[in-house]
Symmetry: D2
Subunit: 141 residues, 4 copies
């Protein structure tokens, strides 16, 4: 993935921090989703078009481990990794790296394809499955 | 208004603060909008129903003055005041009071009724106008 | 816990939602933290005082499962449950219940006590451990 | 300013939008503050260092006009303009431009230098005043 997709980079802004002086934990997941949106766009599936088409890929699970404090001004790089590709869902992993490549956090998200007409899960569209599968292969080398 | 509508109360949460140890300024406006949503619901126009009906009352202007720092744990009461009621728009004022009734901040918002079919402003629906007008009268005493 | 602590209640605000029309996933975790802050205050350990005293209980892990969509105007009750009480850390569970008691989501957070002088984990202060242990017993009781 | 400072660019993310399908108004001000942080860094005064030095430049006023809806995926450029430079405060303006250079919004913020020892306003440090004054001159052409 690092060799095939532009990395998602951001810096910790004042609005990311809290009175304890470090990143407020849920803001990490906002940045993870930003990275996911950029990744989907690079794959050819920008979320804006998916929503226009009536498709919805809601998160059904998320988790994060916080390994080192993130502070105002820190420069962070997010590396996305396909962890699982199922019939109607897929799982992504996110490594958050500081400038010295120290891993500050790790997150994961599980996305399910929903049929908007009945709210039930449905099979991944074939073109999206192929794009994610290709990304998976590249990230595995 | 204070005598006719339940006041909107909230406490400053960790997620409202930033690394400077006080409220991050834009969070005040999130709380102002919460108060607006509660006020619209008390008026009989919950935003969820307006959106379902295809109505949209976007903000076209907002402003805020910050008079005293707000800190984690502070209890805040918001008093809403109708400041102007026009043909297709209305303006609300928000006083943010601390437990000792000190005014910590003031905000104002201007809302315009949009015709969803063409994105142009349109006249306020008569029942909404009447409800806001009644609220105005009561707040003026 | 439901019988011993005031439940944390909130309604889904416009700012909690996104263009897909439902709760943006990370906002659930903001509400979980609000519930945690209220719970700590009920236990006698408001976060504002802990921070003043130089104590810090950062989250080192969080996870959430999304079971049903949450929409603008939904009324939600959060039930907190002590899931684990260790030497230097504890884990809380959060059930998010809709008005009809349907569980819309579940979350969990792990908090570690940090020694501010060296950034290492340290034993839970005895009074905080006792308060959490009491809460645990009541929620199991 | 456009010729002397790197413009601040961002795209509208899902987390910026709400159930009405457009940008939630207060998120514009978060992006304005991001632009302000980048501008201060370009001026040689990153906020992280100011906070470490005990300096604080809280906003005492903010305002915004929303001219056109901003939607998921829109690419936005922020142009900062010094509007006023006083003894202890300064005012910045922010133009939010879409890809076709249409102005989607305008905002302004007033910042005051506070003496942390007593919470009163104090004169701008001379090096910061000079940097802002230089930026002002360049933006005026």
């Amino acid at each position: 993935m690092p060799t095939t997709f532009p990395a998602h980079r951001f810096s910790i802004r004042l609005r990311d921090t809290d009175a304890a002086g470090v990143l407020f934990f849920s803001r990490l997941l906002e940045h993870a989703h930003d990275a996911y949106e950029s990744w989907m766009t690079a794959l050819g599936f920008p979320l804006a078009r998916l929503l226009e088409d009536g498709a919805h890929l809601p998160l059904v699970h998320v988790e994060a481990d916080y390994l080192a404090p993130l502070r105002l001004g820190d420069e962070v790089e997010v590396i996305i990794d396909v962890r699982r590709l199922g019939n109607s869902s897929f799982e992504l992993g996110y490594d958050f790296l500081l400038a010295d490549k120290q891993k500050a956090a790790h997150a994961a998200s599980v996305h399910v394809v929903m049929d908007p007409s009945n709210g039930q899960s449905m099979a991944l569209p074939e073109d999206l499955r192929r794009a994610i599968s290709d990304a998976w292969g590249k990230s595995r080398g």
